[in-house]
């Protein structure tokens, strides 16, 4: 099984599983909507009966936004110019990389953790659908598979969480050391290069953990494992013995995800446009981007499943050995 076949197969699985992507997108929207309703009310209340309701139809008046933020608390304080623009997706990439995802806002962190748990729940059904589609047609089998693997995956995620935390602590140790080591370097380009190398290393560590978690989940579903320790160890063994295949699939699909983010960033409608049409268009384009992101995510799991089955000699779309 070469890389292109795995990716092609993963993308085909992702396309075929569009209903799952739609479900995940919808659930993401449902998770976010209550917060959005709260934000909308806060913004509307602050606009009040002032003429800002006219000016804010067009470009964002930063003076108004700064005044709003000065009195805002809680989730309302997360409204920053970049987050109201297509750059929002880069903001999130930065938050993810810096570990500030959990420090940004308590309410949002709680919401995010809930969503992470929701994804942990769903991932059992997703993997069952990807690896044994004939057994998991329809919503009920999908949900049954989701619940069947949830607690096993939860144990896995808790262990992975420790690894992620370790990487976070390592990165908050590493970058200040680089800052210290380069305190006599007067060329920004050189300092940037050191930091980029370090960032690539930290990202690699994160991805390694992520890939191991993915293969542990896949192994759990395909091999019906109950012990997450064994599933995890086998996943480590798989990644160690087949680093090129496992990581190249992840990087290729990750690149596709970044490409999608870049396309959204460049094609997202103009922030300054006023009227109902541009507003709806911006919302639709944003939602389409999010839906496609889920499809890429599912495609990645599909491609990883194919790699797993290929390495272990399992028949595609079946649990029995060849």
């Amino acid at each position: 099984m070469n890389l292109f076949k795995a990716i092609g197969g993963g993308l085909a699985l992702g396309l075929r599983s569009w209903r799952i992507a739609l479900l995940l997108w919808l659930m993401g929207l449902l998770f976010a909507l209550p917060a959005a309703v709260f934000i909308e009310e806060a913004v509307h209340e602050y606009i009040g009966s002032s003429l800002a309701h006219e000016t804010l139809r067009g470009p964002m008046d930063l003076a108004w936004l700064e005044e709003f933020l000065d009195q805002a608390g809680g989730m309302s304080s997360t409204i920053e110019p970049s987050r109201l623009s297509p750059a929002a997706v880069i903001d999130n990439l930065e938050l993810w990389f810096s570990g500030d995802l959990f420090k940004e806002n308590l309410g949002l962190a709680a919401l995010g953790i809930l969503f992470g748990l929701f994804w942990t729940l769903m991932s059992g059904g997703v993997l069952a659908q990807l690896t044994r589609p004939e057994d998991h047609q329809g919503l009920a089998p999908f949900l049954a598979a989701s619940s069947r693997y949830f607690f096993r995956f939860l144990r896995l995620v808790l262990v992975a969480g420790l690894a992620y935390y370790g990487i976070y602590r390592f990165s908050t140790w590493l970058f200040p050391r680089i800052e210290q080591a380069t305190r006599d370097v007067t060329v920004e380009g050189t300092v940037l290069a050191y930091n980029l190398i370090a960032a690539a290393f930290v990202a690699l560590l994160l991805i390694l953990v992520k890939v191991v978690v993915d293969y542990a989940k896949i192994g759990t579903v395909i091999e019906e494992r109950r012990s997450m320790s064994i599933a995890g160890l086998r996943a480590v063994q798989l990644v160690v013995t087949h680093p090129i295949r496992t990581l190249s699939v992840y990087f290729s699909m990750g690149l596709l995800g970044l490409l999608l983010t870049a396309v959204y960033f460049f094609l997202a409608p103009d922030v300054a446009a006023s009227g109902l049409g541009p507003m709806v268009l911006a919302l639709v384009v944003g939602q389409l981007y999010l839906l496609l992101r889920w499809m890429v995510r599912i495609s990645l799991l599909g491609a990883e499943s194919i790699v797993f089955q290929s390495i272990h000699g399992y028949r595609r779309q079946g649990a029995s050995r060849l």
């Binding site: 913004v43 606009i47 009040g48 009966s49 880069i90 969480g161 380069t182 060329v187 981007y289």
Partner: protein, 690 residues
């Protein structure tokens, strides 16, 4: 209060026998030149040290005598953690005392000897002079930033004294824009420097973390010895360079009529030159010391410098020195954005995009300080707002003249756990300040608007309040004055102030008096509020209504009291009239305006009606609230207090207007929809960990 200048010096009878008389009553120079320095300094780039000898000639321009000389030893502010500078810096929440502070990072300025070298012998008087440290501001016995030299005899008014000092200094890793990073050195406020003798005493404050400097004008003749590969940028012009036997080079710089001398050196500087020429203004030679990685931004530095020279020169008065050095400091050196006579630091980053305001904004600002501070030399310890505020106001205006509106910039890739800012900047489109260029200043001011009076001496401001009070507040009240009086009044007033106080030390009242004088009106009511008080300004339209003009209750009709009752039919007719906008129907429109803040300012109230007619009502703004009633044949649409945004100090402009009809949720939905995409995308990142 423990100011040095409150202390009166006794007059000694023998003074005139030995003190050097003034050469001529009125020196033919633009400045008094009463504090002049001849300095020889040697840099050891490996040990990060300076060794210097200097001769100081000081002339007493005051009407009182003194038998002391007070010197600033600024670098002792970074001698150890007990100095006043370091203690205040901790309150500011900056990280100067972080755990990574190493031995080599501290700095000091140690004076080895002070010798009397005035002409004439004084029998029985030692030439070696006694010194002591003083802490006139806070009594901190461990602060060594002020050194008092006792003279054997007093210096009478009009007389001069000459002293020689030998000193050593350890260059710190950058504090307050001064220090080293690798082989880059920025050397500012580096030598024992006289305070200002005024009002019968020495005005020589300790070094504070939130304030800057104050000194007299003089002539500087400075010889700097460096390794030959080092490029030098310094105040003044290069007079000569001499190669020494040990391979080092001694560069001699000379400058008249300045109040300080600063230099920088690094082997990496790329030196570029240009020339400013503009009709009606004297030409200025520009010398840019830029980091090689910023070579592509050189033209932007030159353009911004020329922008400042042109607009400040046209508005206030010409730049007289004929040359200026622009320094692009090394990455991470922390030396950017600072002014020194005939030399200033800008500051940029590798990928700074055009349109984001950097390096243009900081370059204009620091070039502008050549006017407000280098030429008009106010006391930055006590009245920092006088140069920072006037300059911030002028920077904003000049930037607006020369560049398109600045766009916000978001910087990405900030390494976790570090103090740095992101390496990759991104211009954000679709955001701006439609209310005008000064709205940007409001955000910095609003939060600290009431923290202190501007008239509090700057060094006594709460350490983090200086930015809001000195920069933003002044810029806002000057812009308010511009809109209130007109640019055609404010510009000549500032120009007059500039010309009258060049090479001198103005105080706040000098500025206020000039403005009132040129405006032809007493503006003290305004300065009382913006300078002597910490009140904030906040006018708001509290409510609006517009109903057909009908009366209920008792009215006099044909000499008789009649009860005017409204029947259901009348109300139906009113509603119909309102809907059909019957031109015969008279509408009674009422606007209630409130003054929430303590500040008082005359404002206009604009009422806009459905037929497009506008009614403006002038209100003196004194009462806490005002009801304005207008009867028109058209219904009111909205009302705005201060519709032309004259009062830029109004801290909450969003409450300045009110519409009659309840607005739809369109804008809130628009921005929430954007935020929603951000949140949904954020949630997918949490799924990464699941």
């Amino acid at each position: 209060m423990c100011f040095a200048w409150l202390w009166l010096v006794p007059v000694h009878a023998t003074a005139q026998e030995v003190a050097t008389p003034v050469e001529a009553e009125a020196p033919a120079s633009p400045s008094p030149r009463n504090a002049s320095y001849t300095i020889e300094v040697h840099l050891d780039p490996d040990a990060k040290t300076l060794e210097g000898r200097q001769t100081v000639v000081w002339r007493n321009t005051q009407s009182a005598a003194t038998d002391e000389l007070w010197f600033h030893l600024y670098w002792n502010g970074w001698r150890n953690s007990r100095s006043t500078w370091m203690q205040e810096d901790q309150i500011r929440g900056r990280s100067s005392l972080d755990s990574e502070q190493e031995a080599e990072d501290w700095g000091y300025l140690e004076v080895d000897s002070v010798r009397w070298s005035s002409t004439g012998d004084i029998a029985g008087v030692a030439r070696e002079l006694a010194t002591r440290f003083a802490s006139p501001d806070d009594g901190n016995p461990e602060d060594r930033t002020v050194m008092v030299v006792s003279l054997p005899i007093p210096v009478e008014p009009g007389e001069s004294v000459t002293v020689e000092l030998a000193w050593r200094a350890k260059i710190p890793r950058t504090f307050a824009r001064t220090g080293f990073r690798g082989n880059y050195f920025f050397i500012a406020h580096w030598f024992p420097k006289l305070g200002v003798f005024e009002g019968g005493g020495w005005n020589c404050h300790q070094y504070h973390s939130g304030t800057e400097y104050f000194s007299d004008y003089g002539v500087y003749d400075v010889a700097i010895t460096l390794p030959s590969e080092y490029v030098l940028g310094a105040t003044g012009l290069l007079v000569d360079s001499v190669e020494n036997e040990d391979g080092s080079v001694t560069h001699r710089h000379f400058q008249e009529d300045v109040h300080s001398f600063t230099w920088t050196t690094s082997p990496d500087y790329l030196v570029l030159t240009d020339r400013f020429e503009h009709e009606g203004l004297p030409p200025v030679d520009l010398r840019l010391l830029i980091q090689p990685e910023h070579r592509s931004q050189a033209a932007r530095h030159f353009h911004a410098t020329k922008t400042a020279l042109q607009y400040y020169g046209t508005w206030y008065g010409p730049y007289p020195y004929g040359h200026v050095t622009v320094v692009d400091p090394a990455y991470g050196s922390g030396a950017g954005g600072m002014e020194y006579p005939t030399l200033f630091t800008a500051g940029t980053r590798l990928f700074n995009p055009y349109g984001g305001g950097s390096p243009e904004g900081v370059t204009i600002h620091e070039a502008g300080h050549q006017f407000w501070y280098a030429l008009v030399g106010n006391n930055e310890f006590e009245d920092a707002w006088l140069d920072e505020g006037l300059n911030t106001y002028s920077t904003t205006r000049a930037y607006d003249q020369a560049y398109p509106p600045e766009k916000p910039v978001r910087r990405y890739f900030t390494p976790p756990g570090t103090k740095g800012r992101g390496f990759f900047p991104l211009l954000l489109e679709g955001f701006g300040y439609p209310g005008g260029i000064f709205d940007e200043r409001l955000d910095g001011y609003r939060e600290l608007a009431t923290i202190d009076r501007q008239s509090t001496p700057s060094y006594l401001y709460y350490p983090s309040a200086g930015g809001a009070l000195s920069y933003s507040k002044t810029a806002l009240w000057l812009a308010t004055l511009e809109r209130h009086l007109g640019w055609d009044v404010l510009q000549p007033a500032m120009s007059k102030f500039f010309h009258e106080w060049q090479y001198r030390h103005p105080e706040p009242n000098d500025f206020f008096d000039t403005l009132s004088d040129v405006a032809g009106q007493d503006l003290s009511w305004f300065f009382e509020q913006v300078y002597h008080s910490s009140e904030e300004f906040d006018y708001a339209v509290l409510s609006v209504s517009s109903e057909p003009a009908a009366v209920e209750g008792w009215v006099t009709q044909d000499g008789e009291l009649v009860l005017a009752e409204r029947s259901a039919e009348d109300e139906d007719e009113d509603d119909t009239a309102a809907e059909e906008e019957d031109s015969e129907t008279l509408f009674r429109s009422e606007v209630v305006v409130r003054r929430f803040g303590g500040g008082v300012f005359p404002v206009e109230v604009l009422m806009v009606f459905e037929d497009g007619e506008e009614v403006r009502y002038r209100w003196d703004g004194r009462a806490r609230w005002k009801r304005i009633v207008v009867e028109q044949t058209s219904k009111l649409v909205h009302a705005v207090v201060d519709p032309d945004r004259v009062l830029l100090l109004d801290v909450r402009p969003s409450n300045n207007s009110r519409v009659l009809e309840t607005p739809d949720r369109g804008p809130a939905l628009k921005w929430t929809a954007r935020w929603l995409v951000w949140l949904q995308d954020l949630l997918t990142y949490f799924a990464f960990f699941g």
